[in-house]
């Protein structure tokens, strides 16, 4: 569980949902456009900007910014812009660990604010998620947790870059749809979408959950079990189906939370209600609010 620390927040922050966006693109021109607009906005607002590169060489990032008319070299010189490489920073350890990663964001924002910037603005190339990095299977969990555990508490704005040339379409859809706002190319609705709730700790799950979506359900379960929030809620209004194994994963996660607060479920699909009739012993960990 992440320790909650206080960092001075800017009163001019964008709405919470808009500060963690997915960007899907499929060519260099689109990449450069999103890059330039986002970095320019951050520099103009007095924020520190960091681009965490994965497959793109840092020099190329700086050239693209320069080509877009941004004084990238000057920004680097005064410490307002940096282009670190993921493999040498947050992926430098033995595995990707969302808990450690969330802690790093607190450190990074604290450092940016201590240096006099009004906040931190970052871009992350997420292509490593499709490369078999140890712990990479926790990327969806991480993206969902970021909303309540990081963006709700820190003056941080981030774009997650998803390059279609480097990731499968289905995986891009799953990860991009975990963000509350989206830029760039449209993506297909995944079989199961897992995303944070806008206004309270919890998850939105939509689509159809079964054996094929077990990884997404496992991510949702990890968010439920690991959340520091006292109460977690699921909004299932747009979930057409939930199978028994998915319910079992969520029930396990709920049972593993500290305290004895059941996982609250709103607008449960009929399949979940029927499963709870078959397995009433799950009532103590999964509570349907609007029976």
């Amino acid at each position: 569980m992440t320790m909650v620390r206080r960092v001075a927040a800017s009163p001019e922050r964008e709405p919470l949902g808009g500060r963690h966006s997915s960007v899907v693109f499929s060519d260099d021109r689109q990449w450069a456009e999103h890059l330039g607009a986002f970095v320019r906005g951050g520099l103009e607002k007095g924020e520190q900007v960091q681009y965490f590169a994965d497959t793109t060489a840092p020099d190329r990032v700086l050239r693209a910014l320069t080509d877009a008319g941004i004084d990238a070299a000057g920004a680097v010189m005064r410490g307002q812009l940096a282009v670190p490489v993921a493999a040498q920073t947050y992926l430098a350890g033995s595995s990707f660990d969302p808990d450690a990663m969330i802690g790093l964001w607190y450190d990074a924002v604290e450092a940016a604010c201590a240096a006099g910037y009004r906040g931190l603005r970052v871009i992350g190339e997420m292509s490593w998620g499709a490369r078999g990095v140890t712990g990479g299977d926790r990327l969806l969990e991480y993206e969902v947790r970021m909303h309540h555990e990081v963006f709700a508490r820190l003056p941080l704005t981030a774009l997650c870059f998803y390059d279609r040339r480097l990731m499968s379409g289905e995986y891009v859809s799953v990860l991009a749809s975990a963000h509350l706002t989206h830029q760039g190319e449209p993506h297909a609705e995944p079989a199961l979408r897992v995303a944070p709730l806008v206004d309270r700790p919890g998850l939105l799950m939509s689509g159809s959950a079964g054996y094929d979506t077990r990884d997404a359900v496992a991510a949702a379960a990890a968010v439920v079990s690991g959340s520091p929030a006292r109460q977690m809620e699921l909004d299932l209004a747009a979930l057409r189906h939930l199978d028994a194994a998915s319910l079992a994963m969520l029930a396990d996660a709920a049972a593993g939370r500290p305290g004895d607060m059941p996982l609250k479920v709103r607008q449960a699909p009929s399949s979940l209600r029927r499963l709870l009739q078959l397995f009433p012993e799950l009532d103590s960990v999964v509570e349907v609010l609007d029976r």
Partner: protein, 319 residues
């Protein structure tokens, strides 16, 4: 020939598994044979479950009269409409019937006049599996058989019950057969449907298959509530095909009179014939949860081990 008492099926049943078939022709014979079994069990302070067709319940309740509240009464036409879910009910009762020292007595009548041949075969499979599930346990299960049932159904009762009798006397069944052999014999050829929607699937298709099964059932006229059951059952079956049946399978769906049928065919093997016939821990990792759910939600589940794989037919009535 071994005989087991002159008037009651209860003699000698306390210490070991006891599974007699009682053949009856009249209400009096029914009450005499079944009622006496229940009364004896109550006198010996057994936990007692009576699961018989609803119309027969009042006969037995009147017979035990003041002791009726000590018996769990179940309408088998409802609880056992799908024969594949009866064994779970019996095991759950036996498991919860008290501490391990409390003997358990059950009356289970899974086949009645009016059962379809397909239902009777699955009920015969259930009868055979009782012998596997309860082997070595101090449980007595009396199974009444109406002599108005087809002869082939009655003949199978001699193969699935170690002891057979009527209101007169009980004796060892000379035709009793190995339960696994009976189960193999229950794998009767399934009739080909005249027309079916065919949906091949692999893992990446499962969400589409679920949606397609739901859409098709809605178009066929299945009510919303029953469509939930249909979708859960079909969803569990196709998931099992991907997980255990070679990674892919074929779903076929068709209407047959006043019911819908979903057939799931894959390359799996049902290694444990008792899979899905015991109530699972919903959060457990042991197998059988999906098959158990299918049995609970469907009106009939036909299971066939066929070269080279497994065929499940899930039946759901439109009314």
């Amino acid at each position: 020939m071994t005989t087991y008492g002159s008037t009651s099926a209860g003699t000698g049943r306390q210490t070991a598994f006891y599974h007699p078939a009682l053949f009856y022709g009249t209400d009096d014979e029914y009450v005499d044979g079944v009622g006496t079994f229940v009364r004896d069990a109550l006198e010996q302070e057994h936990s007692v479950l009576v699961a018989v067709p609803g119309p027969r319940l009042p006969l037995l309740q009147a017979f035990v009269d003041d002791n009726r509240e000590h018996v769990k009464w179940v309408d088998m036409r409802q609880a056992g409409r799908n024969p594949g879910r009866i064994l779970s009910m019996l095991q759950e009762f036996a498991d919860r019937g008290g501490d391990a020292r409390t003997p358990v007595s059950v009356v289970g009548e899974p086949i009645w006049v009016g059962r379809t041949p397909a239902e009777a075969w699955e009920a015969t499979r259930h009868e055979a599996l009782i012998n596997v599930a309860f082997a070595g346990r101090p449980v007595s299960i009396l199974c009444p058989y109406d002599t108005a049932l087809p002869e082939d159904v009655q003949a199978q009762a001699y193969r699935t019950h170690p002891v057979v009798g009527d209101s007169g006397a009980y004796r060892a069944s000379s035709r009793y057969a190995d339960p696994h052999e009976v189960c193999r014999d229950c794998d009767r050829p399934l009739p080909e449907p005249p027309d079916a929607v065919v949906v091949p699937f692999a893992e990446q298709d499962l969400a589409f298959v679920r949606d397609e099964a739901d859409r098709w059932a809605a178009t066929a006229g299945l009510s919303h509530a029953r469509r939930t059951d249909w979708l859960l059952a079909v969803g569990e079956a196709v998931s099992n095909s991907v997980r255990h049946g070679g990674g892919h399978g074929t779903l076929r769906m068709w209407c047959a009179g006043d019911e819908l049928v979903a057939e799931i065919r894959d390359r799996g093997v049902l290694a444990d014939p008792l899979a899905g016939r015991r109530r699972p821990d919903p959060r457990g990792t042991t197998g059988g949860r999906g098959v158990w759910i299918m049995h609970q939600l469907c009106d009939l589940v036909e299971i066939r081990a066929v070269a080279p794989g497994l065929v499940l037919r899930l039946h759901m009535g439109l009314v």
